[in-house]
Amino acid sequence: MYSEKYQESLAAVSAARTKNIAMEPERMTAKQKEDLLAAYHPDYKASEFSVLKIGPNKGDKVPHELAEMLQAHSRISASDIDLSSPDYETDVLVIGAGGAGTSAAIEAHEAGADVIIVTKLRMGDANTMMAEGGIQAADKPNDSPAIHFVDAFGGGHFAAKRDLLAKLVCDAPEAISWLSDLGVEFDKEADGTMVTTHGGGTSRKRMHAAKDYSGAEIMRTLRDEVLNRKIPVIDFTSAIELILDDSGKAAGAVLMNMETKELLVAKAKTVIIATGGAGRMHYQGFPTSNHYGATADGLVLGYRAGAKLLYAETLQYHPTGAAHPEQIFGALVTEKVRSLGAKLVNRNGEVFMHPLETRDVTAASIIRECSDRDNGIETGNGTAVWLDTPMIEEIGGEGTIEKRIPAMMRMFEKYGIDIRKEPILVYPTLHYQNGGLDINVNGMTTNVENLFVAGEAVGGIHGKNRLMGNSLLDIIVFGRNAGINAAKAAKTTEIGSLTLKHVDAFEKEIMDAGIETDAVSPKLLPDYTRKVNA
């Protein structure tokens, strides 16, 4: 239900609907996109970035909030921790139980390794659980891994590490088949043909989905499989520092019980960082679509142990975060709403862009519409544009919304908005960490031996912008890959004596660089006490 102040604009949107459905908005040229991004995308706002003064990426720029965490004090000093009698010992230590961590654990276990998972909240309290739209794979006859490669490479501004991207697209069909074999219920036609749609920036319909609970369906299945395999999961426990051995190889982690704050030591032959994204860092004050524990911890852990970051300055602002009502401010409105035909419309009922441009371009275009062009709708929390959901029912027939995006329908229904009949208000929300730790194609970091990374904590697979559906894909492909290779490396690894010298050395670097800070990291959780609008 929309209050009086929205009615005039709503009437304009509804009056223009038939015409707007029929119109095919032009796609932007490469040049138009470049100019738009430079002028309006948050990644290009120089005043929001700092230059790192210490560490492997010294001299690079990252968002202020990330710089603060990367250059903060450790939560411990080396002398606090007794490394001589570890609380846990294992072959493979997996940090983070989202999709990447659980796939890694399953494959490492399958390869015969002893595996332990530690995770900040519960297994599955993770960004993976929230993915709605779907997962890409080039498995239709009119598609190929090569076409998928070109879509993703271009969408990521030609910056992806090509060997990583080639692996992503070539292993994609196999990833879908692995998930199917585990029991993930993909949307299919009666004859078994996958129901696939477009996502922003795709040139073929290759988005596979499980209604609009794609991530949840994948996550709960992987979780069930981890439990079936009896892989130990230490929940409500965060990794707060990596442990190295005297030859500089990753050899475990210092853990902290999130409730009792007890510190524990886990010793491992190989370590996989699968800690996910950073939405709860609220870069540039943006709201976020991410889960509660998305605080870039993995980047901090790796950085202190000497691992390099790649493209940490690039974030994805999802163009369609919910802008109204207050209760769901920042929550994701899946791209599938646009895949199914809903267009973006301004205050006057005008379609101002093609709805399926890449996410960065779409976000920048909405920001332009709401700022310089002044065609946004005031919400009390800022400005927003309409996403005209009733178009979906007119195009796809009555019932399409309920069938294809039930979670969306439910999310708004709770607040009296029937998205089948009324459009919704959207504005960009902080969604995805494009950059992260730099890895080789075997999943290991480029410069810390036996330290593997998988999932959203990796940088370079997608370049500087990720296409919808390629992240769920990457957590499966590179999660499995990390698990297999970490198990293999564990077989030949002899651990030397454990050390936290790098933690003290980093502290000294902070001092030497003259950085004055009270901050400690990793952040672990945001603090929302006495703040509205989290």
Binding site: S144, V150, G154, F158, V184
Partner: protein, 224 residues
């Protein structure tokens, strides 16, 4: 002025803005959450909560991140509920009702009270999906339970001690793996890739100068 309401967190009174969810209201009141908060958006089931509006006979259940506070709301979170999860090998189970009899025999003790359905935070017909599971109608059980966030509220109300979300999870995996039709184009593509059919194409993309890739990207044909 913002409209305020009184809520009672574990019995203690707090005054909070009326447009907050139970979750953000707890934070407004000063709680730094660790348990009972995962996705913050209705997907993970971490934030199961029971409440009663003062004077109301009915005890209600909800997800704290999805429910707006009301005046005189008495709130207790249920961040953990001891469900029974049986382990099994998905590759070796039988695909008929005998698997349910073996792993979750208590479902046959359902007394039909419908308390599970009334309590479901996702408004699912829980009793119905348990009935489908009893009869080995896994496809229907999977469909009916699809939106389950595994919060466990239904199980907290069940006199028969059934762990509904785990029963449904098993049914969905059986459906996804065994009952859903196989996918020919997927199998074909996996074979083609294993066979190396795309190696040359991919290799040429790996070598191409960026300018050529830009050209390819900017002129690519887009499926309608």
């Amino acid at each position: 002025m913002e409209k305020m309401v009184n809520i009672f967190l574990f019995g203690k009174k707090y005054e909070v803005p009326a447009n907050l969810t139970i979750m953000t209201a707890m934070e407004y009141a000063g709680y730094q959450l660790v348990r009972g908060c995962g996705c913050r958006n209705g997907f993970c089931g971490a934030c199961a909560t029971i409440y009663r509006i003062k004077g109301d006979r009915e005890l209600k259940a909800c997800l704290a991140c999805q429910t707006t506070v009301e005046d005189n709301m008495y709130i207790a979170t249920l961040p953990f509920f001891p469900l029974v999860k049986e382990v099994y090998d998905i590759n070796k189970i039988s695909v008929n009702e005998s698997v349910m009899m073996q792993l979750y025999p208590e479902i046959y003790a359902c007394v039909g009270c419908n308390a599970c359905t009334k309590a479901c935070t996702q408004e699912l017909n829980v009793m119905q999906y348990i009935a489908y599971a009893q009869r080995g109608e896994f496809e229907k059980c999977a469909e009916e339970s699809f939106d389950c966030v595994m919060c466990g509220v239904c199980s907290s109300r069940c006199p028969a001690g059934i762990s509904h979300p785990q029963v449904a999870m098993l049914a969905r995996r059986i459906n996804g793996k065994y009952l859903a039709p196989g996918c020919g184009h997927l199998e074909d593509r996996v074979k083609e890739i294993k066979n190396g059919d795309f190696n040359d194409l991919i290799e040429s993309l790996m070598q191409k100068p960026v300018e050529e890739l830009k050209e390819l990207y900017n002129t690519r044909e887009i499926e309608k």
